[in-house]
């Protein structure tokens, strides 16, 4: 039996399975599906160190002013963007966004790539706060954390 549980920390509703423990307690196991407000992720490409500095200053000033909006920003120079977001990795994110594959094995099969390579890329995206890897039984379920915005020329 499933229900939705509300997590005030992320302001998200998660689909969860209700489990009745032998002790009589009820516990919830959150599943990968969720709905509601998600985190906004923005990838900002800057041209040089000066522009990067401006972004850092903006982030710091916004925090000091108390304007914290549950936002995740990734600041990259164009050459670093090209290194991290290779065509195969972009393909991986796009496939993930379609939500057609349920676990890393299925995702790797769909992309025609090795499990190890896809898992390594997913770990990198997890580190950059773009993807969440959830362990469910013996499977690893990847999911995008939020909506990714990439305003190249703003």
């Amino acid at each position: 039996m499933w229900t939705y549980i509300y997590d005030p920390a992320t302001q998200c509703c998660y689909k969860a399975t209700m489990l009745l423990r032998p002790s009589g307690h009820i516990s919830y196991k959150a599943s990968k599906a969720r709905k509601g407000k998600t985190m906004e992720i923005e990838i900002k490409i800057v041209q040089n160190a000066e522009e990067r500095r401006k972004e850092i200053k903006k982030f710091s000033e916004r925090a000091i002013a108390g304007r914290i909006e549950n936002k995740h920003t990734l600041v990259l120079t164009s050459d670093l963007f090209a290194k991290i977001f290779s065509p195969k990795r972009i393909d991986l994110l796009m496939t993930l966004a379609k939500k057609e594959s349920h676990n890393v094995t299925e995702l790797a099969k769909k992309l025609g790539r090795k499990f190890e390579v896809v898992y390594r890329d997913l770990k990198l995206f997890e580190h950059f706060g773009l993807v969440k890897l959830v362990k469910e039984d013996k499977f690893i379920i990847p999911e995008l954390i939020g909506h990714i915005r990439l305003p190249v020329i703003a």
Binding site: I56, I64, E69, T73, G129
Partner: protein, 104 residues
């Protein structure tokens, strides 16, 4: 509770991650924010600067987590000159550039 994060990769293997969270203004958090700035090398955290109280002492602390620097024990330094996330990011940036130049 809302939290903002900023990722500033210096290369594919070196990354700076900053996180800020709104707090009640208090003697522990006079700015009303809690921040943590972390430096990662090959996905491993090597340095962290945060303004959370450490062993009962309020203020900003630098946690050095490099294995060779720690030599089995936790190295923590108080750092009252770092007052905001921007200064912490600058410190971590300099630290990573001087300590891991081969990875940049």
């Amino acid at each position: 509770m809302y939290a903002d994060t900023l990722d500033i990769p210096l290369s594919e293997n070196v990354n700076i991650k900053a996180r800020t969270r709104k707090m009640e203004k208090s003697s522990d958090h006079p700015l009303g924010i809690e921040f943590a700035v972390m430096g990662f090398v090959k996905l491993l955290e090597v340095i962290r600067i945060d303004n959370s109280p450490h062993q009962g002492k309020p203020g900003t602390h630098i946690h050095f987590l490099d294995k060779d620097k720690r030599k089995g024990k936790e190295v923590v330094e108080e750092s009252p000159q770092i007052k905001n996330p921007e200064q912490a990011i600058d410190y971590v940036d300099l630290y990573l550039r001087s300590r891991y130049p081969m990875l940049l």
